[in-house]
Symmetry: C2
Subunit: 170 residues, 2 copies
């Protein structure tokens, strides 16, 4: 059972959703996303910058979970732009505050960042090759609400990460 969800560029396999980012197809939606973002920044009384734009663009057009160093490297290689590390840290933090970016802790290593504009999903991390797979499972989502309710806890967010061996590393 496999369906392709064109709208969100997700492939749905047995209730699990893997994100497939098809860069070119996003082009148009990115432009409007960026425009919208810039407006939000203005409305907050803050200033736009090419750095913010590029960091957003880099996060938008990747299927990976990037560290701050990754972002700087991509900016340099793909866009021939040098960005100060402090700027990138400040910007991803700002994006987190705006709730358009989520951070992900991977054992021992630097924090990684990803855009938070698609469906909520969780992660499977291969402990051998460090590959990150994404999934979304309705039953787990529902059951979490149940658990929170039973503990008088107001659920705002959650992280779920499965560690193991991916197909190739077994």
């Amino acid at each position: 059972m496999e369906t392709i969800c064109k709208r969100f560029h997700f492939r749905i396999i047995n209730n699990c959703i893997k994100r497939i980012i098809v860069v070119d197809k996003h082009k148009q939606s990115f432009d409007s996303f960026l425009k919208n973002f810039k407006k939000t920044v203005s409305n907050l009384g803050l200033k736009n910058s090419t750095q913010k734009d590029y960091i957003l663009k880099i996060l938008y057009f990747t299927d990976k979970h990037l560290s701050v160093e990754d972002i700087i490297k991509i900016a340099k290689q793909e866009y021939k732009i040098d960005m100060g590390i402090a700027t990138v840290y400040r910007t991803v933090k700002f994006f987190e505050d705006l709730n358009i970016v989520k951070s992900l802790d991977i054992a021992d290593k630097a924090k990684r960042y990803e855009l938070n504009i698609s469906l909520h999903h969780d992660h499977m991390i291969c402990t051998s090759c460090n590959k990150i797979l994404e999934f979304n499972d309705e039953i787990i989502e529902e059951q979490q609400k149940e658990v929170a309710k039973n503990n008088d806890f107001i659920l705002n967010d959650h992280i779920m990460t499965i560690y193991g061996l991916c197909e190739n590393c077994q």
Copy 2:
């Protein structure tokens, strides 16, 4: 529906299990646990030390998730022992390798450690007061296996953390 599981010092509420560590009751079981641990260390051709013993004891007799600094503080206050920070880092890492300790990443802060000798459980963290509640939910556990299976992933471990507001902070 509420049962008390005396053996493991857990209270079971609506399928959710909260750990209640009753320190005194553990006394006897700790002694045998420690004995067993020391034997394991010997069998590995490694050496025991009072530092290892105390770190194990501190982790055993707490219901909190301790950072390395916490462990040093408790050692000093409760047991009048000074331990080098490097020793504590090395020891908790060693415990992790032995699979008797698990580490827990909390946003932005130092890693926290807990013993891994009881039932598997996950965490709910209050974003207001930082309190950590533990829970275990069979449906979620099962569904994770399902997800892993559907993605050709061999599940070894997982982390699940719910963020929200606890009863008191709402």
